[in-house]
Symmetry: C2
Subunit: 330 residues, 2 copies
């Protein structure tokens, strides 16, 4: 009977204080199961909030930390048909991602598209999926239509720029720092503007008065308030984060007379409702863009599971340039 | 050639200062036209804002004031088939309602349901229509489902109570004054609660934990903020007014994790898009309720057109018990 190293927690609190290493027993592989070796497992803000106990959805304790991971299939049960040894897969998020190995039911394991590196696969299922779904599930956008977003330099924001470009949509990207303008334009952004009170004045220059039907908000507060004014009659603002920790506010008249809608998006809810086929179709589309060079979010630092304290502290620092990840099998 | 007395205005400002009486020429009735004598024309808040120039939609000046009216057909053109002399009708709102008579194209004149008094017809097309459409156009409610609303003693709020009761829906009604509780219960309200911070505590008592899928907001500010917390997963808050003049605000997490939606409703937009048949079907349903005694909004005071200064001043006083109306042909 073999064991596997994990980063686990049995109570909520400061992540680096409640997390601990644990050797867990690895069960034998059943005939409809597979054994997966985890290659990369990011430390996402939602993982931090889960350890803190402040996230919207919390697993029963004790639990293994993390949800998102890329693994490689190393052993398959005799009845498993649609997975093979050596394939890159996403293990079931509910089992916890910060671990060396996992044994899982094959029907809950999702294969990544062919031809992706571990690093490309590792960033596909959350940020690019969020970006793509927000661009398609709320408003029927046609090539040439405008989309506006705040925090355009975030992981989702960068994916929005790349996916919108591939679909022929024009992006208006709001950022807080001048030095991001050139960087996002290089990525394919059509327009990059400062997220302040000059926006209203500059907006007409870039749209020529064309309607903006979709706004993507991950900031809240003043930034979201400004976004609501940019929308055309019947436009929708989709909120997927609240970085400013300020509530969203908007004028009553925009709802009544301009027929603006406020909606929210949470990719976890989409995955819960989606069929296996819908997920694989989405990933195929995103994988094709990744193979052409999209979604290159740099990995800032890789940690072994034994250095979880440093890793979790690092992940909570605010001005990160790229992902902080566990590499459980160096 | 006959003339008709109107209350008109040629510039925006304080309503009682910019309004004036004018004798306008009344054209001969064409073969596809009708001549209507106005029986009652309410002074609505939106009419006041239109004279002030602050409303979302303003007619070209000079204009006749008012939009909503009940008239009686007094003459019909030779080619008019579906209207008859003596019938109660709504003249085209765009022609202005504060006048003794109007000549209008028959296809823009809408007949009220049979068997209604002038007073019943006068209050049908705005408040009860707004209430009924908000209850049906956003969420698919089944008998026994809960609806929550603020300013439940407003014209629309009272209509919501009566229509919801007829449809088997349960209403939770928020008011600011204790003394309204008995009055609204007599009207058919299932629950009447004070619109303050005690709400959250009391809500579970009245719902027994059942989900609230629809909230109706005409206040904004703190009251709307409280309403957003009462909604179940996937619930919708529909805003149709902003009495507090405070923006709406809500927590980001409600949009993302609870999938709450914020929408707006403006009955004028509905009428613009609706077919004549859709309008007449809606009015037939509301007329049936009115004949059974619903929508009895008291008329506080009737003014002749010549007393427009007093009428407009009266209509701007905040604590009105009923409608202030013009009765152009006493």
């Amino acid at each position: 009977m073999s064991t596997t190293l994990t980063v686990s927690y049995s109570r909520h609190g400061k992540p680096q204080e409640v997390a601990y290493n644990e050797e867990q027993t690895l069960p034998a592989v059943g005939e409809k199961q597979v054994r997966i070796e985890i290659k990369l497992a990011p430390i996402n803000p939602s993982d931090i909030n889960t350890l803190e106990g402040t996230y919207a959805q919390l697993p029963e304790l004790p639990a293994v930390g993390g949800r998102e991971a890329v693994g490689v299939v190393v052993e398959i049960g005799s009845a498993v048909k649609d997975l093979k040894v050596g394939q890159l897969v996403e293990p079931p998020p509910a089992l916890g991602a910060w671990r060396q190995q996992v044994v899982a039911d094959a029907d809950k394991v999702l294969p990544f598209p062919e031809g992706l590196s571990v690093e490309q696969a590792a960033v596909l299922s959350v940020n690019p999926a969020t970006a793509r779904l927000m661009l398609t599930e709320f408003v029927d956008l046609k090539p040439g239509d405008f989309v506006i977003q705040n925090a355009a330099n975030s992981g989702v924001g960068r994916s929005v720029i790349e996916i919108a470009k591939a679909r022929g949509l024009k992006t208006i990207n709001l950022v807080r720092r001048e030095e991001l303008i050139a960087e996002l334009k290089a990525l394919g952004a059509d327009h990059v503007l400062l997220d302040d009170d000059t926006l209203r004045h500059k907006l007409k220059e870039v749209t020529g008065g064309a309607p903006i039907k979709l706004a993507l908000n991950t900031v809240g507060g003043d930034s979201a308030f400004r976004l609501t004014f940019t929308l055309a009659q019947g436009g929708i603002m989709v909120t997927y984060g609240g970085m400013s920790k300020q509530p969203i506010r908007l004028g009553t008249g925009l709802l009544i007379f301009k027929d603006i809608q406020l909606r929210g998006f949470w990719v976890t809810r989409w995955y819960k409702k989606a069929s296996r086929e819908q997920v694989l179709t989405l990933w195929e589309e995103l994988g094709a863009l990744a193979r052409k060079g999209a979604f290159r979010l740099p990995i800032e630092k890789r940690y072994p599971l034994t250095e979880f304290k440093q890793a979790l502290e690092h992940a909570q620092q605010s001005s990160r340039g790229g992902k902080i990840v566990f590499q459980p099998n160096p």
